[in-house]
């Protein structure tokens, strides 16, 4: 990624451009960082919905979307997501690589971010009301996806056990926010939040495609962002839980039991680099990983099983769906699988590393994945280069893996039944 060019537009606004002629489209992604609290999550998610409903130039949903259709079906999305203990507001455009389109798309981006529909110092009542309605539905619908909900509940419970002042505990908050916080927002409160986000939070913009850095910058320069210093954020740190032994939580999903229970086990760990964490996760969760081969293939306890590791937060979780009667057995087998990774064979380590190296080598084939990788590197102060990352993965040893496992603590066993 030697051709990645970064332009500092002002203090806190950076434009990162990667020219890659193999793509048939250009992609432009804005990431606006903010603190993750129930309040900011609720406001930011609502803001995303209000901004999506149009801007002063294209004031209705149909006019806005028809304009995007005219731009060869330029895709546009605004949403929020969380990254460790931060909340990110993301605006993304992908459009066909035709010279005529780029200035028009940047103009839409600028209008969406800087010229929303408003009346005096508040958003329009109708857009706000539609946004609140949609967002409250999104918050309620978290429970409709059992796996997603079980993982959310696992993290929420793990964070409940964390030290009160631990900033990393905010990763247990939903990026959709809460109904309680949402009910406190008014059109003027939201507008004031919008103003503060757009003028004081750090913004990183990633442009990837056949266009050159200079072409992207020329278009970006036309967006009149305020030239003022923006906030700086520190890394989040790892979750510190005070549990001496794992808490077991069994929750009914509803009056009618689920056909398959969802089992999630959460662990914390204090050792290990980002690279070692990734390799451990691959040893466990890869397509021929320990969990798949043991829990599914050997024991026949489930159809789907996976693990997820959050290196910066120091959290490992394993999740599967199994018959309610198999929960205890599945817990035992999963725990022994996780522990057995400490004594992984040279062959298992090699397979996991090769699989990860292949995955990272292929990231540059996707604009979306490249954007995600580059932004993640920026948040974690890692050199934004896949070759560098692959070198880090290749350097992981058996000792690094056993080091993580030795610091691993089982914190919460959560089952949704």
């Amino acid at each position: 990624m030697s051709n990645l060019r970064t332009f500092q537009i002002s203090e806190g606004i950076n434009l990162h451009c990667l020219k890659d002629s193999k793509f048939t489209t250009n992609s432009v992604t804005f990431f606006i960082r903010t603190n993750l609290t129930n309040e900011t999550a609720s406001k930011a998610a609502l803001l995303a919905r209000v901004l999506k409903s149009g801007c002063t130039e294209y004031p209705t949903v149909s006019l806005f979307n028809r304009h995007l259709q005219e731009l060869y079906g330029c895709s546009m999305d605004i949403f929020t997501f969380k990254k460790d203990c931060r909340l990110i507001l993301c605006l993304n455009f992908v459009f066909a690589s035709k010279t005529v389109l780029m200035p028009k798309v940047f103009s839409v981006a600028g209008n969406t971010l800087l010229s929303p529909k408003k009346f005096l110092n508040r958003f329009m009542e109708a857009d706000f009301s539609n946004g609140v309605y949609a967002q409250s539905k999104a918050i309620r619908s978290l429970k409709d996806n059992k796996i997603q909900y079980a993982i959310f509940r696992l993290y929420e419970e793990m964070c409940r056990d964390a030290e009160y002042n631990d900033v990393s505990r905010s990763f247990g908050i939903s990026a959709d926010g809460s109904l309680k916080e949402l009910s406190l927002v008014t059109p003027s409160i939201l507008y004031s939040f919008y103003n503060s986000v757009i003028t004081s939070e750090p913004i990183d913009v990633y442009c990837i495609g056949p266009a050159s850095g200079d072409e992207f910058k020329a278009c970006f320069d036309k967006i009149p962002f305020l030239d003022m210093a923006r906030k700086k954020y520190q890394p989040c740190g790892r979750l510190q839980c005070a549990n001496s032994q794992a808490r077991i939580i069994n929750e009914p999903y509803s009056i009618t039991p689920l056909n398959q229970s969802v089992l999630c086990i959460g662990y914390t760990f204090s050792k290990g680099s980002v690279y070692a964490c990734e390799v451990l996760n691959e040893i466990l969760s890869g397509s021929s990983g320990l969990l798949f081969n043991t829990v599914r293939q050997k024991e026949g306890l489930c159809y789907s099983i996976f693990s997820n590791i959050l290196p910066n937060t120091g959290v490992l979780s394993v999740c599967c769906q199994t018959d309610g009667k198999n929960i205890n057995r599945a817990c035992q087998v999963i725990n022994s699988c996780v522990k057995s990774a400490a004594s992984c064979t040279y062959e298992q380590l090699k397979t996991a590393k090769e699989s990860l190296c292949a995955k990272y080598s292929l990231i540059t084939d996707s604009q979306q994945e490249t954007t995600g990788f580059l932004f993640s590197c920026r948040l974690n102060s890692i050199i934004p280069d896949t070759d560098e990352y692959i070198r880090g993965i290749k350097s992981v040893s058996e000792n690094d893996i056993s080091g993580i496992i030795s610091s691993l603590k089982e914190q919460v066993i959560y089952s949704l039944n």
Partner: protein, 416 residues
């Protein structure tokens, strides 16, 4: 080897279509500059196939058999192709739908040797009693897992409503009961009937030498005898009321199904129907705006066209507190469009949007392979699809609008 090399009119991509002496069709779409290589073997055998005739006798296929073969074909007597491919650094997977079973891998290097492994895998099965019995518990677990997913349940209820007592009303993976009936003998019989060269397409994309890939595919010998596919007589249900199942979801999920009885399968008809849907209720439509402002919808409706042996139906999906109102609004708007027709401006705009989507699709090897897989089962290629979009006219779209999405062909499934 017969080969046709053509340049696609919208994306500018080249596609090579090989018809091999064995009967296998091989579609190769080279993409230079990409590091991902991907290949997919598509077999025209899906959960919609219920019976075949071989040597004068008829064999009934238990529900879930195509999906069971999908699970077991990776396993050989002394090795697992899944593990072998994974060891080579390839990501491997497979899926089954009403009309096909597909096996695929993507990788960073070793593409040609991985392609050989894929071909070895599909040319020779190994179904042993123990392996089949072990797989049953995994598949039953999969079936039960799907029962808890409202998106699947709402679709499953729709097909039960539209096509009761047919293969389309059954789950693709079958039921716990039907899976129990499956034996190695049944798997071998179905393999021999359907895993024949003329039922198989191989699709490859990446920075590939087309002829080298085609030669590997050509080297593969099949010993399957082949059987005559006996298609089920599918008559849509006369009752188009909605079904509802208490699922305790935060907001109802709904599927509106439209049976397209006389639909002739070709890319032109497929795209015309998709475009009519977008004009009627896509995110740029007045209907969508009205439903958002009435707080009946919060996201655009989804659309998919489902192909099954002997039937084609479309599914419009979404979530709303008022599914019936949404369905009625859609049908009413559709009837208005029949009278007024879509204006040239709208057609031009939608065509541009589809051209953009096609261009975007060429950014992803995975998207290229999957799009070609759907077309291959129908005997078409990406070139045919691009030609259809490039040449579609307002008249064609209005003709399609005049026939599609009529109340008498509509069905509504709701999960609450």
């Amino acid at each position: 080897m017969d080969v046709i090399k053509e340049k696609c009119p919208i994306s500018g991509a080249y596609i090579y279509v090989y018809t091999l002496p064995t009967g296998i069709k091989c579609y190769i779409i080279p993409k230079s500059g990409f590091k991902t290589y991907m290949a997919m073997a598509v077999v025209k055998f899906g959960s919609g196939d219920i019976m075949f005739k071989q040597d004068g006798s008829f064999t009934e296929i238990p529900s879930g058999t195509a999906h069971f073969i999908e699970h077991k074909l990776f396993d050989k007597k002394d090795k697992s192709i899944f593990t072998e491919l994974s060891k080579n650094g390839a990501a491997v997977n497979a899926f089954t739908d009403f009309v096909k079973t597909a096996y695929y891998f993507s990788c960073y290097d070793g593409f040609y040797s991985n392609l050989r492994l894929l071909m070895d895998m599909i040319k020779e099965p190994y179904f042993d009693k123990n392996g089949v019995e072990n797989e049953k518990s995994i598949i039953k677990s999969e079936i039960n897992m799907y029962k808890d997913i409202p998106e699947r349940a709402v679709f499953s209820n729709l097909t039960k409503l539209m096509y009761p007592s047919t293969a389309l009303s059954c789950e693709i993976a079958g039921s716990e009961k039907s899976v129990e009936k499956i034996t190695p003998e049944i798997l071998y019989a179905c393999y021999n009937a359907f895993y024949t060269p003329e039922n198989i397409s191989i699709i490859c994309s990446g920075d590939i030498e087309p002829e080298k890939a085609a030669l590997i595919v050509q080297e593969t010998d099949f010993t399957s005898k082949g059987g005559e596919r006996i298609k089920e007589d599918i008559t849509p249900n006369k009752i188009n009321d909605y079904v509802s199942k208490h699922f305790n979801v935060s907001e109802p999920f709904f599927n509106i199904g439209f049976n397209h009885e006389c639909f002739e399968i070709c890319p032109e008809n497929t795209y015309a129907l998709k475009m009519v849907f977008d004009i009627l209720s896509g995110d740029g439509s007045k209907l969508y705006e009205r439903l958002i402002n009435k707080q009946i919808l919060t996201e655009p409706l989804g659309f998919s066209l489902v192909f099954a042996p002997n039937s084609v139906f479309s599914v419009i999906s979404g979530r709303s507190q008022k599914p019936s109102y949404t369905a009625n609004s859609f049908i009413k708007t559709s009837s208005l469009l029949r009278n007024t027709g879509a204006g040239d401006k709208a057609v031009k705009r939608i065509k541009k949007m589809y051209a953009g989507r096609i261009i975007r699709g060429y950014n992803s090897i995975d998207a290229i392979i999957n799009a070609q897989a759907d077309l291959a089962v129908q005997g078409f290629s990406l070139l045919d699809a691009e030609n259809a979009v490039a040449n579609i006219t307002s008249d064609k779209i209005n003709l399609t609008a005049s026939e599609a999405f009529k109340r008498q062909n509509a069905y509504l499934s709701v999960i609450k």
